[in-house]
Symmetry: C2
Subunit: 489 residues, 2 copies
Amino acid sequence: MNATPPPNQVFIGTFIHCRALDELEYLHGTAVFVDGPTGKIVAVERECGHSGRLEETFTKLGWSSAEVKIHDTTTTTTTTTAGTAGKAGGEGKDVSFFFPGFIDTHIHASQYPNVGIFGKSTLLDWLNTYTFPLEASLAKDLAKARRVYGRCVRRTLSHGTTTAAYYATIDVAATNLLLDICLARGQRALVGRVCMDEPRTCPPWYADESAAQTLSRTRECVAHARMRDPRGDTVRPIVTPRFAPSCTPAAMRALGDLARGEGLAVQTHVSENKGEIELVHAMFPGESAGGRGYAGVYDAFGLLGERTILAHGVHLSEAEAELLRARGSKVSHCPCSNSAITSGAAPVRWLLEKGIDVGLGTDVSGGYSPSVLEAARQASLVSRHVAMGGDDRAKLSVEEVLYLATRGGAKCVGLEARVGGFEVGMEWDAQLVRLGGVGDGDDEGVDEGNVDVFGWESWEEMVAKWLFNGDDRNTRKVWVKGRLVHERV
Amino acid sequence: MNATPPPNQVFIGTFIHCRALDELEYLHGTAVFVDGPTGKIVAVERECGHSGRLEETFTKLGWSSAEVKIHDTTTTTTTTTAGTAGKAGGEGKDVSFFFPGFIDTHIHASQYPNVGIFGKSTLLDWLNTYTFPLEASLAKDLAKARRVYGRCVRRTLSHGTTTAAYYATIDVAATNLLLDICLARGQRALVGRVCMDEPRTCPPWYADESAAQTLSRTRECVAHARMRDPRGDTVRPIVTPRFAPSCTPAAMRALGDLARGEGLAVQTHVSENKGEIELVHAMFPGESAGGRGYAGVYDAFGLLGERTILAHGVHLSEAEAELLRARGSKVSHCPCSNSAITSGAAPVRWLLEKGIDVGLGTDVSGGYSPSVLEAARQASLVSRHVAMGGDDRAKLSVEEVLYLATRGGAKCVGLEARVGGFEVGMEWDAQLVRLGGVGDGDDEGVDEGNVDVFGWESWEEMVAKWLFNGDDRNTRKVWVKGRLVHERV
């Protein structure tokens, strides 16, 4: 399915990645060596530049230098002279750096055409008004599904998303199609068929007919994924009960058993909206009783493990947070969505301090943007709305939201040993970011994105500028496992 | 200074503008006729298309059809067939429409290089850490000022800002330069020299030396503006006491007298941040006493009139709001800034219901983006954070935030009779917006912006998509008073 593996490659320039939650590491004049067949980083040489020292490493790695593809970003852009302060002349040159690919821990590919369309709705009416009709239309029409999924994967790659945890629809064929598109495009993905069989809440025209059908359809998608990518190197299936209110107890129990039995990850929603939480308590009085809450419902059916991604977690109780921590379950923070459909402001600092792993989700189309950079930006802003409530510590820094977008997300999808940073042994899932320099002419580079570098900024300031004004125009190239999967020419 | 006036022009296609706070009007197949010398709209013909009916209007207007410049957007894009629902094939064509130019009612041009740079600061430390040093550096260096202001005006035009209320620096020459740049570029602007003479709060290296100097320097800028554009058709001076804490009572009184005597508009800040409010109460115990508050301080010095634009108004009391309403003063809502530097969530619905006119401000660089579309998007999201506090009515709709960005802003800058809509007698300050259609190929048009039109969306939905995923790539052309001031090729 994949093209011929790329040759051995070396990337030269500035590399920025997260060393800890609140710390970015800046590696200037560095060379990163990527093995062709595996896409793995096999060497990182600091202060390497593009001198004869490359040859030494080639020899050490047993590479023939004639066959290495060299990506040298230092020849065309400034990567080491920034940070000299205060000059006014036209020294604002383009600045390039490599950054780990983004990880979107929660996105409904099937809802992509609805981005930005939510009116004044909140979760439950939003589902019925906007979401179910669109998803149902895709489930019935593979040509439409191909158009929507193709565009969604194309767009997320252009935003630097190298890994995504997707919800598709209830339809087996369309879900399999989404997985095939990710594989063909080279995007790392967890792809889930949406499970929903509860007749009290699901529309009759868009639901599984029984818990048995929920299970059998899910098994079909798991089998397809394993046929396409047996080791799950690029794409994997993920068990996806939509959310507790749309699933019968029998379905959730069956899905929990399936996940445990087959070693599969699980994704679902939790505590997004207050009306939803009341509904869960009303529908699952036993499972949620005694303070076990909404999260306790999933736990009761064996769906809460360390490979479970719970989207939102806006209104979790102390007891629920403790349960998540104990189970090692992850939270996908979706700030664009939570603001847009007025779900609430998630207390991310509180979750992190509880010891819960948190990543970012675009939550298309509750969220209005398929960009993880936009999600990171909104995570920063939403954390300030939490801080307005009185706790200044709630604020998330530039470094922290970029951590959530990369390392944090990698933990959520269980790939923290493989992606999210530039260490030997990890795979080359990366983006080349370019920020435009402001010359003396007003017009120069104005069409190449909204980040303007005047030349006196520090690296920390340039990264902040990227976070707050960057977009897909700044993401010049994107690689997954060493393979170039997007390029902006 | 301006180029030769453009010829008579007719624009044909779909026009969208605000009819009321919560209502957009969609004029399809319409022709708008713009007089060359004045830039005024002289006729609007509904259902005109591009048939012989144009000739009738030309005759009525006494125009020679050979000399009319025709901008027909219906020949290259779909403007009337959208809204047919549910088809899947590749019928997502590009969609174009004309929209009124945006009005930025609060922007510090001198802070443009700092967009996105604010760390975890709040207002008062942000001023000292980031703002004053940059402004001071521009005040001393005209080459740097030219580079910064040139880029800022270039950028705001590219985002569709046809009118901006600018703060420059304390420097006379640099302030005059900003006004000259706006005039040369053709952007409508109110340009204010920043007044700050209070030694207790202003850094000694960045302040007027006395109230007398504050007044004389301001008069110099007013004189320059009137020399350049005597009738203020394009650019005007605006009296700009930075904010109460940075001005002495003598300076504020002198500026109030100047504004009244010369018929000038006034701009300043009010009730942005709680620490700032406490400072105002401490510095102006008399003026703010008896519930008159922060707004009362400006009123005491004659600075509160119907031509006064007050940025922020996040924490106004009932009495202050009543004072604003009584004086007819305007509020510039700056949601990006208020979230970024954790000032608070402004209660816009409450202000509107008090009868106060509200516009949008980017507040660069407290705000991280020079785009009014981004400000409108954040106004929507911030209003939802207000609604999370319990009042669902606080939510602002797509229509409402676009009203604030156009008609609301026009009221703030006193130009509501001239700009903000497409009516006969108004001037042609407009932008041509294009949204990209999704064809059957995944790649088509992916580089032309992030709005994807699949072809089944209603016009209301397409406008929502533009609001939430649009950027400067969608703003293809921008005109001020009939003159083309920006074009994306």
